[in-house]
Amino acid sequence: MKKIRRQTARPDRKFRTVKEIMQYIVCAVILKFLYHGLRILYRHDDRVKQDLDRIDRGTTIRLSCSSHGPELKITASEHGIDRCTPRRCRRYLKNTADGSADAKAAESAEKLPDIDIRFKGLAFSFAVFTGQIGIAEAFSGHMMYVNGDFSKIMSLVRCMEQAERYLFPSFMGRRILKKLLPKKISSLRLYASIIFSMILR
């Protein structure tokens, strides 16, 4: 009887193993790194800037590691990307009363994203975020799905690949990226800027 109860209870649990908890934490941390990294690269790498500028201002994008995993909800803005959080939303609405693109973007924090990118499982996002497989390989390997205008996220995907170039050492980059593009700032400087930016928040 006990056995049956344990089995029926399992699907309701968020995590079943320590491994899953670890994967959740790692993915959550790397999502934060990715977000701050992209914002810093927007200022220092013209290729990232060009690609992020291709996304229409105010477009909201949600990147989820799985149905119950950590997620990052961002909006295309004057800084390249901004987080869609209620706090940021309030700040925007306070500063911009004329209904500009940024205000609209902030309002969109409350609604469903325009584009929803979701990994089909935490193990897949963990593999991508730890540099075991590349983003292109994850797409072609049916590890994620996209709801929304597919053409709009191509530039974000390219940016994420460029961020991987900085965040992972070259030997890992060579395995997961089709081409190692030259860096515009050193990885060390990027890491330091990310940590600084995270502390300042």
Partner: protein, 393 residues
């Protein structure tokens, strides 16, 4: 390439002489009674829509509505408009008769109806579409190239942004594909050539793109062999029904292959050429294929070398040194394109296709938004696209 792959091809295929006559029974089995026939004005003028109507009538099936106002490059608004008509007329089955534009529009209409949506734009995405309400979709292709009668991909133009949008989901694969040579014998030589090269391009990309797998490979190589043996025959003599049905099978098999293994840079640039400069898709594929193969050469050399066997036959394959087979494959395709130009005037360069150099920047910018470039085996950026366009000019 990972060792994991997904493969799906759920479409029932009716192929060969007299396949059309089996259509009514299939529609009935799928539960269709109020049928919408989507086609284009040309096919209506030459009596093909009437032929379908009479075949269905013989088995007491009525067409509730015929829609033939489909432009060469269909758009999102056309799909939305037809879906509205379907809702008004309570349509429960769709038959699409035509080429790529008609077929992709019908997929879009079915998608809107089955998802109970009012705008196709809301359904855009990659593999995120749920199954929805089952609306039978039957495709009768009148060209042999797109393979769209079996794929889970619909490419429809967004007229506001001037780009081709991709809708990718296994849930948009049609239910029935009817390949009858009666439907393709009237295809003009130039269209036969262009669509045939499109099929070849699907097979080549299907055999070399990131998610290639043993099943997609099997379809791709057979498609390559069928194109190699029958395309010139079908272009020279349109009434050669054996060549026609072989080309229809080739297009279908290439479609199954690329639907599961994806396409790459040739389509990434080709879609943009169609959207910006209105180059017909097959013509764009014919022009770009050898140049893009040369660009991908260092990543796909083995794949191209394998394809030489199916393109040129065992004697030429055996007589070619192993190190030269991939380049020989590209040369073979170039020669085939030149032969087609000599027979029917199929353009070999972008300048012959009427593309202006001034449009290159816009084409490159549009191409960068295409998902096909992401899954190309080799890195693609703006400079790469511009350099390929220059070479193809």
């Amino acid at each position: 390439m990972t060792d994991f792959f997904e493969f799906q091809s759920k479409t029932k295929i009716l192929s060969g002489r007299g396949a059309l006559l089996r259509l009514p029974n299939e529609i009935r089995l799928l539960g269709g009674s109020r049928i919408l026939l989507i086609s284009d004005e040309t096919l209506k003028k030459i009596g093909m829509t009437e032929r379908i109507r009479s075949i269905l009538q013989e088995e007491n099936l009525q067409i509730a509505e015929i829609f033939t106002d489909i432009p060469t490059d269909s758009s999102l608004s056309v799909a939305n408009h037809i879906a509205e008509i379907c809702r008004d007329r309570q349509i429960d089955a769709i038959i699409a008769l035509g080429g790529g534009s008609v077929i992709d529009t019908s997929k879009g209409v079915r998608m809107i109806l089955s998802q109970k949506s009012d705008d196709i734009l809301k359904l855009s995405g990659y593999e995120g579409l749920p199954a929805g309400k089952g609306i039978p979709l039957c495709i009768i292709p009148t060209t042999s190239g797109t393979g769209s009668e079996v794929t889970g991909v619909a490419v429809i133009r967004d007229e506001n942004r001037n780009l081709k949008m991709e809708f990718i989901s296994t849930n948009i694969q049609p239910d029935i594909a009817v390949l009858d040579p009666e439907m393709t014998v009237s295809m003009p030589p130039k269209v036969t050539a262009a669509t045939g090269m499109d099929a070849l391009c699907h097979a080549v990309e299907g055999y070399t793109c990131l998610q290639k797998n043993p099943l997609s490979d099997a379809y791709a190589v057979t498609a390559v062999r069928l194109v190699s043996e029958n395309l010139v025959r079908a272009v020279k003599d349109g009434s050669d029904t054996d060549a026609r049905i072989a080309m229809a099978n080739a297009a279908l098999m290439a479609g199954i292959s690329f639907s599961n293994s994806m396409v790459g840079i040739v389509h990434g640039i080709g879609h943009a050429l169609g959207a910006v400069s209105r180059v017909p898709h097959g013509t764009a594929m014919n022009i770009l294929l050898p140049h893009c193969m040369m660009y991908n050469m260092d990543e796909c050399e083995k794949g191209y070398a394998d394809l030489l066997l199916w393109l040129a036959g065992p004697e030429i394959y055996a007589a070619t040194p192993e190190s030269g087979r991939a380049h020989a494959c590209v040369r073979f395709i170039r020669r085939l394109s030149e032969q087609l130009r000599a027979i029917c005037g199929l353009p070999l360069t972008l300048s012959e296709a009427g593309v202006s150099k001034a449009d290159f920047e816009r084409i490159a910018e549009t191409s960068l938004r295409d998902g096909a470039n992401l899954v190309n085996p080799k890195y693609v950026d703006r400079d790469v696209i511009l350099s390929i366009l220059e070479k193809a000019y």
